[in-house]
Symmetry: C2
Subunit: 499 residues, 2 copies
């Protein structure tokens, strides 16, 4: 394990703090490949836990997993006009399939073999609508084949210039749901349903409050009819888009000729949806809960939920505390708690605390000789607070503590979010809020619907419309005028500076 280093305080430099937390918790590391990261075991385990929870939810709503090719023929991407325009500037293109020796000695002595150039370059998938709907056209003949509800877990490549661990990387991992329906109403219901699944996951598992709503034209997915999104407020009061769900209409169905025979013998194009969340969520998790001591992981997604740190001075004490600690570990592990015992000889207890705190472990159980004598352990919560717990009944106490920590994290994040939200803003209030010392947050106000206002606001304040919020997030009093230009409002909007 690398030497522990100091974490930059949030107040000093939030961006440095974030990188420090990710590195110290060993969630990820920089790779020698531009813009690509390595997800280390501690971070990858969070992703696996996320996958497990989401997979259960996807299955419960009737979806099945499948796998489609990494490569997409360049011409496929071009079949949907908005789609290719949206992705043209960030696609990795495979053009050759063999290496050739240059004849020069040394490590760089190979080049792409010109004779192996592909007739049509292949795009490394930046998203899979085109390749998946090409297959849908083959599989769907009749209304009996609908709805078709698939999901894919895979890697995605979008060439990025400014990258941040988890938040924006050239390669990332995600899931993309792709469905086909007989009617627009069904597609709309599906897109809405999956937005709800994401919200439930992000609130209940990640303990991360989100607001949901519709994207404006300027922010919608390239090729979609409507895009819905989830937005969460980070500790620096910037918004992070943590998932999207698209009603694609018949745009791709027409581009790839996905038609079905209706019950009455007619021929119709299907209605598609697609929806996705990615490893970016891990960045959201970090920036929602963590502190200047490192990662704070919500218990439901913590790779290690409980760490037992035995404390001893003599060999005799060592035997005692390891004996009791081992039994505690077995009891908790048997009940499904993700528990580790840190029995290293070469590291002092204080250094162990420091390390496991940086790794975000929600609950630490310290067991010293006096605890053994008293039949107890000392339970220290990552969210603060330390108290002895009796070994008899420990499991229930641990499970109760984990539940409480999970809940505390959510309510704390929610309170923070509310404290950085203003509603019914005027133009001046909005500017003061976004540029003020508080550092912004979510601002709710009336919106006239014009792209010009969006552009101007972005230029002057750095804020963009995150969503036109869903009813449950709207203000009790709906604004009647655009907070920027004063014209009649077509919808309430939520602005924020965003990642």
């Amino acid at each position: 394990m690398a030497q522990a280093q100091k974490i930059t305080p949030r107040t000093q430099d939030f961006s440095e703090w974030y990188n420090d937390v990710v590195m110290q918790a060993e969630l990820a590391d920089y790779s020698p490949v531009r813009g690509c990261m390595v997800i280390r075991p501690h971070g990858y385990r969070i992703w696996e836990l996320m996958q497990g929870a989401l997979d259960d939810m996807f299955r419960a709503t009737g979806h099945r997993n499948a796998y489609f090719p990494l490569f997409i023929p360049m011409s496929f991407l071009a079949k949907e006009a908005e789609h290719v325009e949206g992705f043209a500037k960030e696609v990795a293109l495979v053009t050759h399939t063999r290496l050739k020796a240059t004849g020069k000695a040394g490590v760089q002595a190979v080049i792409p073999d010109p004779a192996s150039e592909l007739e049509e370059p292949l795009v490394v998938r930046p998203t899979s609508e085109t390749i998946i709907y090409a297959m849908f056209a083959k599989w769907i003949q009749s209304y009996r084949d609908l709805p078709l509800l698939l999901n894919q877990w895979c890697n995605i490549v979008r060439w990025q210039f400014r990258t941040r661990l988890f938040l924006r990387t050239t390669e990332f991992l995600w899931q993309e749901g792709h469905t086909a329906h007989a009617t627009e109403a069904e597609a709309e219901a599906e897109a809405r349903q999956m937005l709800g699944v994401y919200r439930r996951f992000q609130e209940e598992w990640m303990a991360m409050p989100v607001i949901t709503g519709k994207k404006t034209e300027s922010e919608k997915f390239a090729g979609a009819l409507r895009t819905y999104a989830l937005e969460a407020l980070m500790q620096d009061n910037k918004a992070l888009q943590t998932g999207t769900s698209h009603n694609l209409g018949q745009n791709f169905a027409k581009a790839f000729n996905v038609q079905y025979q209706t019950a009455t013998g007619g021929l119709e194009y299907v209605w598609n949806t697609s929806w996705g969340v990615s490893t970016r969520m891990i960045g959201g998790l970090v920036m929602t809960h963590s502190d200047d001591n490192g990662l704070v992981a919500p218990p439901k997604l913590a790779p290690v939920q409980v760490v037992i740190v035995p404390i001893w001075k003599s060999e005799e004490e060592r035997g005692q505390v390891l004996g009791v600690g081992g039994k505690v570990k077995d009891e908790l592990a048997h009940a499904g708690v993700r528990v580790e015992i840190d029995a290293r000889d070469s590291v002092k207890p204080g250094a162990k605390y420091f390390e496991w705190e940086a790794k975000g472990v929600p609950l630490r159980l310290e067991i010293g000789p006096r605890d053994v004598a008293a039949g107890q352990a000392v339970a220290a919560r990552r969210t603060g607070g330390k108290a002895p717990v009796k070994l008899a009944g420990l499991l229930a106490a641990v499970q109760g503590a984990l539940d409480e920590i999970q809940m505390t994290l959510f309510t704390t994040a929610q309170e923070r979010c509310e404290a950085h939200t203003i509603r019914g803003v005027t133009k001046q209030q909005f500017v003061d809020f976004m540029k003020g010392p508080g550092g912004g947050g979510f601002a709710y106000g009336g919106f006239c619907g014009s792209g010009e206002c969006e552009t101007e606001i972005k230029q002057q304040t750095g804020a963009t419309i995150r969503v036109l919020p869903d009813p449950e997030f709207r203000s009790p009093e709906v604004p009647k005028t655009c907070m920027w230009c004063g014209k009649p409002s077509v919808a309430e909007a939520v602005w924020a500076q965003a990642y």
Copy 2:
């Protein structure tokens, strides 16, 4: 669901039969991308079940999952001389990162933007030794950091000219374990241990008997010190390599400067191993057990273990059989059995049987009105045999039947393999065996160790040395001379025609 089609009999054309089984069972489909396949939900579920079982075994042996970049700088691949030579002819190369409109209208109106050409092309990983060991060099400082035991589940690209669904595709899914150790002995023990894990998985889960052993120089992994492999005999008497485990020695450690400080303060290169199995195993599973009616899936890996087919004529009967069938389904599902009820109105029972047989479901429970009256279901095994079972005690009967089917599949495959194995062959016997009407199989004989004999044998019979078998597979009487050239034998070898 597509119209069921006839499956080509194995005796008529084994290769066509294989494709028909894969397509009819909806395991996979051809994609519009050359050499790449789509893994459909029924096939992907098998992969997920394989992943789950293997992940448990990897974790139990101390390994942790991580994720490394898809792209590898071209120069990295070139750092290990044998390695780059081994993969030079089959790598996909990313050279550009933007598309540009050609100005022409129409769907093909984009080209790679010449201004976006990369200074150094990126290789789409054909395997990840080079990128992973570059990271190991960063993470490993001292003997305390060893052993480092990682595993990665990911997609892999190797440009192939002749492809077959699952067996050989340009893109495939796999896991690759990568470890670093302080000593050669530890690396050797690790490579051996993981070969054992694979053997256990393939025998106990896939019900596929394998032989294990060492590859000869001509067949070893590009960059390895020693390669161990598992080989299984398919129903056409060709061998399929179903996994490999490599002791990489210090080859990559030297190329990527992965050194550690010893306990006594010295500096040493680490010893690496890597080991992998892929979606190719699904092809092996198909070719080991399936028949002319379609897929036969071993219960432990069957996406659907039990299908309930209710049979009715009147509406009243329909209510009865669906009621009982639903209860049976709930009981089995609750106990963890993967069960479906096929309640479709539009499909007749016979057609349902046909479809679920093609999909390899191990056990079918038919429930008609007379069965309801008698408090029973009729259980039909995919491996043959049909008998009534009482609904009282059904769960135990189903679990017992699944266990028996699992065992039957293994012993049947093992007997078939033994029936197509000959030992202590002479040159003439060998030629007759490989070219004879029986179609070959595993031939054990003495081997002089020369590459010339290997080449000659391959040219004349199409057979290659699959492995120099491990002790438990060796013949009681070790051959003293090379079965081909008659010179002294250095080891017993197992030859076969192979995929």
